[in-house]
């Protein structure tokens, strides 16, 4: 299967370590992921809250440019917007016509969209990943956090079981780490309200951090730049406000996978995380001398 990679805006800024570690892991697994040339924003929350046609036309512009390749996506929000646009355009002739008018070209909604986690499961396979793991993350207890956008609406996303997903847990297990059983894996972190209604994000993200801690997790792993940013950047704010301590590093799954594949930490952007993961990794004996030096 041939892919074009759609990074999305977050991976150029707040989630640049997600982009970095994705590229490193794909190279190590032999996945060729050229970037979609001149891609534009999917419209994200702002578009679907404001203008229903823009929320279709912005994703469609990118999907039409993929020219028969499968669009590989890392950001859960982009993934959601691209798949929802495909569903609406392919299923409704009126929507398709309106999008065609806005774009100045017809797009039929048929470009396949896959998240990196699905590519790992379906196209690489966990057996192949297992064989490449050279530094298993033994003893690391990880809360696999899915959030909303990969899973819902389940009838359209068809990603995993919407109430008890396992895919990210399986990736954690493939790294040699131990996924913990916890109740908040599909809870909402507050996502796009991080700036506009911060109090909602602080409350919802607090619940997720507390659930991970109570389940005995050493860290959280995410597959969405909005979730990661809320749980990582807002963690200190929540600790101060609630007078409690979490100290939970929030990794992208590509960072943990990269560590297990023995990739150098400078290729994984570990230093960009705001809750410093290096004390945890040293404590667990998972930081090589190379990692210490690179720091």
């Amino acid at each position: 299967m041939s892919y074009v990679f759609y990074p999305g805006c977050s991976l150029e800024s707040t989630a640049k370590e997600y982009a970095l570690s994705t590229m490193a892991v794909c190279a190590a697994l032999g996945l060729n992921m050229p970037e979609l040339p001149d891609w534009t924003c999917c419209g994200s929350t702002a578009a679907h809250q404001t203008d229903a046609l823009l929320a279709l036309a912005l994703p469609a512009k990118n999907l039409a440019a993929a020219a028969g390749n499968t669009v590989a996506v890392a950001c859960a929000a982009c993934y959601s917007r691209l798949k929802l646009a495909n569903h609406e355009i392919a299923g409704d002739t009126q929507s398709r016509a309106r999008v065609a008018d806005a774009l100045g070209a017809d797009y039929d909604g048929s470009t396949p969209v896959k998240h990196l986690l699905e590519i790992l499961r379906d196209d690489v396979g966990f057996d192949a990943v297992d064989k490449r793991v050279s530094k298993p993350l033994s003893g690391l207890r990880v809360a696999a956090y899915y959030g909303c956008l990969l899973l819902r609406p389940p009838s359209i996303m068809r990603f995993d079981d919407a109430e008890n997903p396992r895919l990210l847990d399986d990736v954690v297990a493939a790294t040699g780490a131990q996924p913990v059983d916890w109740p908040a894996k599909t809870d909402c972190c507050g996502a796009s309200y991080s700036i506009t209604k911060t109090e909602i994000v602080l409350r919802l993200s607090r619940g997720i951090l507390a659930a991970a801690r109570d389940a005995g997790a050493d860290c959280i792993v995410a597959a969405c730049p909005l979730c990661q940013l809320n749980l990582d950047m807002r963690q200190r704010d929540i600790e101060k406000k609630q007078h409690e301590r979490f100290g939970l590093p929030v990794f992208y799954f590509t960072q943990l996978l990269g560590l297990a594949l023995g990739l150098p930490s400078r290729d994984l952007g570990l230093r960009s995380l705001l809750v410093d993961p290096l004390p945890l990794l040293s404590k667990k004996g998972l930081m090589s001398t190379e990692t210490a030096v690179a720091r």
Binding site: T40, A46, H48, L84, G104, C148, A191
Partner: protein
Amino acid sequence: MTSGADTPVYPLTFDTLLQELDGATLSGCFQCQKCTSGCPVATGADVKPHEIIRLAQLGARQELLSSRFIWECTSCGTCAARCPQGVDLPAAIDALRRLSRDGGFVAEPAVAIFNDIFLDTVRQLGRVHELALMAAFKLRTRRLAQDVGKLPMMLRKGKFALMPRLVPGRAERQRLFHRARKQEEETP
């Protein structure tokens, strides 16, 4: 948007919204309140998710469009995923947000302002530029102090690009936004 193939997005007026929702699923709601039970922001909501549906069944335009809740909903989709009757509440709330703006009923202007600035950035540059977005939002809402303490750290960690990257095809983007706007205006 998250609606099925049988619920066209346009033309959108309050009456057509009710018609579409009713034609799809709205009339199926029997107030079991599963939506509200699973909603992460129902606590403290002025109108709770199951009440949104009831008000829509009653055609209570003003109460719906001026409700705070439609701007507090995180679009997490838990309500729709669990609804035994298949009511697509997130799609209804997106439509209510648009009608609320058109009618000048917005109870939480900050969210609408953020969305406008976000989309304007995309129209101009092709992609979001966080620093410019944050600066414009602070100026428009006078929330100058919010999160300012985070700026040095975010810059040090390389999480904010200083300069925006301009994606080619600006004229084409302007046309796309213009046509989308025009279609919306032409709907009755």
